[in-house]
């Protein structure tokens, strides 16, 4: 797995000389000595644990797991609950249940110590005595991360005890409240918010749930400061981020980019080859953007949102002209419909109906009624569940019907195009959760 | 006032209370049956174009409160009626009395359950839903216990129309309970079968007990009434206790 060098604005003085790479700087996993040699030792914050929170706020770090929630605010919420009688918990979410994303797996295998530093620093700043790290089922992450933790124990690094959890199968298992529910001994399905995990999470304690990439950034901010962090990226979206580029590109994979880089630049670096018609941004809960129209869109949470897409889990899946966007969307919607927790009526009823409607649209000859019904369903399932899976699916379908409007008309007139019968571009996990 | 009052006066002065006890007891049973019935109708989601669900729910609440009110009257008149000594505590603590202790005790149990059912429902939004549900399940015990109490202690059990009224109440609840059970058949066939068997057994056993107990001679004595507690009332419309 190569880490691509991407041009960025000038870095700050103290940072290590790796060009512009911050998170993943080597082609193979970094051992503890290599990690310390490259980044320097992790700062000790015992005297002023809250100082880190201020620095994170100043850096403007937002969550890298899909929500893009201001990280500093999350820290504050958990730290504020710690009136001495409570024992907060830190949960590092590396579950990466998004099928098209692999950034968390790559980060954990290549720079585990950055993430572990982040966990230790986060725990210190909110007063947590315990931490969990949830890893995905791909590769052998549990073992490699376990080895990294053992390395730290031997080196005498003061970390809180970290328990490694393997995420169970299922798209929703990595969702914040589902993860907390599982850690509490329940099912890995989302729970109703409020109460947020920052108020009541694992064992009813204030729980700080952060994506592993976010924690890696925390480890860097603690070392080099907010100003350094903001030296790349844009004002609205500071810092760098990992994205997973897949689909019709020569060099698919995970790469680190300064936020705000133009989409076209990111895809060019990944070797955009055949003529492409659209790109799926965010993940399976994200949305399509047309190409080449969207090449100038800045890759950042606000930038993509303004264009009708989303940064989400950092997925950029390029759809070549030889594929059918409606067919891909129908397959993903079918997958998502099989992944629902089935706790909430509107989703339990609406998602299978939406999948069925998309099936008819992509692989049948849709009439005006079924298209209207699909639109109605996207409205019916949005905002009416305990989690946002149906919202994401609705957004995906809405954007597909818009971006692939020409295909829609063609399907309505003459049935499914022959491109719809091509093998799938977007990966659908073989075994469904239910 | 000097001298002991004539025995007839003693009996007569307690008669209105005694009649009230019997009457309020019967009315409470009917109201409790109606409350239970509307509760079952809610759980089977009964509705009709002219009968929305909130009507069933509103009736359920009001009928329950009425049933409680009449039960309280029933308890008060029983306690105040000093022909037989039944202290107030016997209304709450079962089986400690001297008059038909077992059958009266059942009444205390039913009364306690009613208080719990209605009390928890008044604070329903302020307690955990699971706890409220657990308490509300005891309604399935409360109603039959109340009915058996009525049949066991009731002076009027052998009266034909009283039997008919009780049978009608039992029929309504049995039908609705079977309807409620049938709804759960797809998910829990085992439990439903057990429930149906239980209902059938209960009806059969109840009928057998009725025939051998309250409707058979000397129930009075067999149920634990002392001779001093028996009373006779003159009058064409009155009946002697058996």
């Amino acid at each position: 797995m190569t880490a691509e060098h991407v041009r960025a604005s000038a870095g700050a003085g103290q940072s290590p000389d790796s060009g512009d790479l911050r998170l993943i700087v080597r082609d193979q996993p970094m051992s503890l000595p290599a990690h310390v040699a490259h980044y320097g030792p992790a700062p000790q914050n015992a005297a002023q644990p809250a100082a880190l929170i201020t620095e994170i706020e100043r850096a403007g770090l937002t969550g890298r797991g899909g929500g893009a929630f201001p990280t500093g605010r999350k820290f504050r919420a958990v730290a504020a609950e710690n009136s001495g009688r409570r024992s907060p918990v830190v949960v590092a979410n590396g579950s990466e249940s998004e099928p098209a994303s692999s950034k968390d797996a790559v980060l954990l295998s290549h720079s585990p110590h950055l993430v572990l530093d982040g966990i230790a620093l986060a725990a210190e700043s909110v007063g947590a005595a315990r931490a969990y790290l949830c890893v995905g089922s791909r590769g052998n992450l549990a073992r490699s991360v376990g080895a990294a933790i053992a390395e730290r124990d031997q080196a005498g690094l003061a970390t809180p005890p970290i328990e490694i959890i393997s995420r169970p199968d299922g798209y929703l298992a990595g969702q914040e409240t589902a993860l907390v529910s599982m850690l509490n001994g329940g099912l890995p399905v989302p729970t109703l918010v409020p109460p947020r995990p920052s108020d009541k999470g694992v064992r009813r304690q204030p729980t700080l749930v952060l994506n592993v990439e976010t924690l890696a950034h925390v480890a860097l901010i603690a070392r080099y400061g907010a100003v350094w962090f903001r030296s790349v990226g844009s004002d609205a979206a500071p810092g760098s981020a990992l994205v997973t580029v897949t689909g019709a590109v020569d060099r698919p994979g995970v790469r680190e980019i300064p936020l705000g880089t133009a989409l076209g630049e990111v895809l060019r670096r990944s070797g955009l080859n055949s003529p492409a018609q659209a790109v799926l941004t965010g993940g399976y809960f994200g949305s399509w953007l047309p190409l080449p129209a969207a090449l100038g869109v800045p890759v950042s949470a606000p930038g993509l949102r303004a264009a009708g897409g989303s940064l989400g889990a950092g997925v950029l899946a390029v759809l070549p002209d030889t594929a059918c966007g409606l067919a891909e969307t129908a397959r993903v919607t079918g997958y998502l419909a099989g992944q629902i927790a089935a706790q909430c009526g509107p989703c339990r009823n609406g998602m299978p109906a939406l999948a069925e409607a998309m099936n008819r649209i992509a692989f049948g000859q849709p009439d005006a009624d079924i298209i209207r019904w699909a639109h109605q369903l996207t409205d019916l399932v949005t905002g009416r569940g305990a989690c946002h899976l149906p919202d994401g699916a609705a957004g995906l379908v809405t954007s597909a019907l818009e971006v692939f409007a020409a295909d829609l008309r063609a399907h309505a007139q003459a049935g499914p195009c022959e491109r719809a019968r091509r093998p799938a571009i977007l990966p659908i996990p073989a075994r469904n959760y239910r | 006032m000097t001298g002991t009052p004539p025995a007839a006066l003693v009996v007569t002065s307690s008669t209105p209370l005694w009649y009230t006890t019997r009457a309020t007891g019967l009315v409470a049973m009917v109201l409790l049956t109606a409350a239970m019935a509307t509760g079952l109708l809610t759980s089977v989601r009964f509705e009709h174009r002219n009968w929305p669900r909130f009507v069933t729910l509103g009736l359920h609440r009001n009928l329950s409160l009425l049933a409680l009110a009449f039960t309280v009257l029933h308890v008060l008149t029983t306690v105040l009626d000093n022909f037989v000594s039944i202290p107030l505590v016997d209304a709450f603590v079962p089986f400690i009395g001297t008059y038909r202790p077992f059958w009266l005790g059942l009444g205390a149990i039913a009364f306690d359950l009613m208080l719990a059912l209605i009390g928890t429902s008044l604070v329903r939004t302020r307690m955990r839903l699971r706890s409220w549900r657990l308490v509300h399940w005891t309604a399935y015990a409360c109603w039959p216990v109340a009915v058996i109490h009525g049949l066991g202690t009731g002076t009027d059990t052998p009266v034909r129309w009283v039997l008919a009224l009780t049978a009608a109440c039992v029929l309504v609840i049995v039908v609705l309970t079977l309807w409620r059970l049938a709804l759960s058949w797809p998910q829990r066939p085992g439990w439903v079968t057990a429930g149906i068997v239980l209902v059938v057994l209960a009806v059969v056993a109840g009928g057998a007990w009725l025939r051998a107990g309250p409707l058979a001679p000397n129930w009075n004595i067999r149920s634990g009434t002392h001779t001093s507690q028996s009373r006779t009332v003159s009058g064409t419309s009155a009946r002697t206790t058996k």
């Binding site: 969550g63 893009a68 989303s310 509107p346 009823n349 | 989601r45 669900r53």
Partner: protein, 96 residues
Amino acid sequence: MSQGRDDRAAARAPREFELRVNPIRCDAHGVCIELLPELITADPWGYPRVRPGPVPLRLLALARRAVTDCPTLAIALAERAADQPEAGHSRVRPDS
């Protein structure tokens, strides 16, 4: 100085409430839909859709009844912050 005046004004303002459905508990009994057709409509499967915004004063008593009557306690009255915007549904992303 104006801060104090704002505080007093806020204290005098009538409290506003809005209805919130717990989608996990909701079992589509439909009692709330019957009681408050002005505010709650049924979707094609019988589940409630609450009109966003505060509950009008004249319907508040019915709203309270809907809360206590719901067989699964799936609807609640929550106090709105005075300056809360209408709860529209922007495309929200899942949490981290």
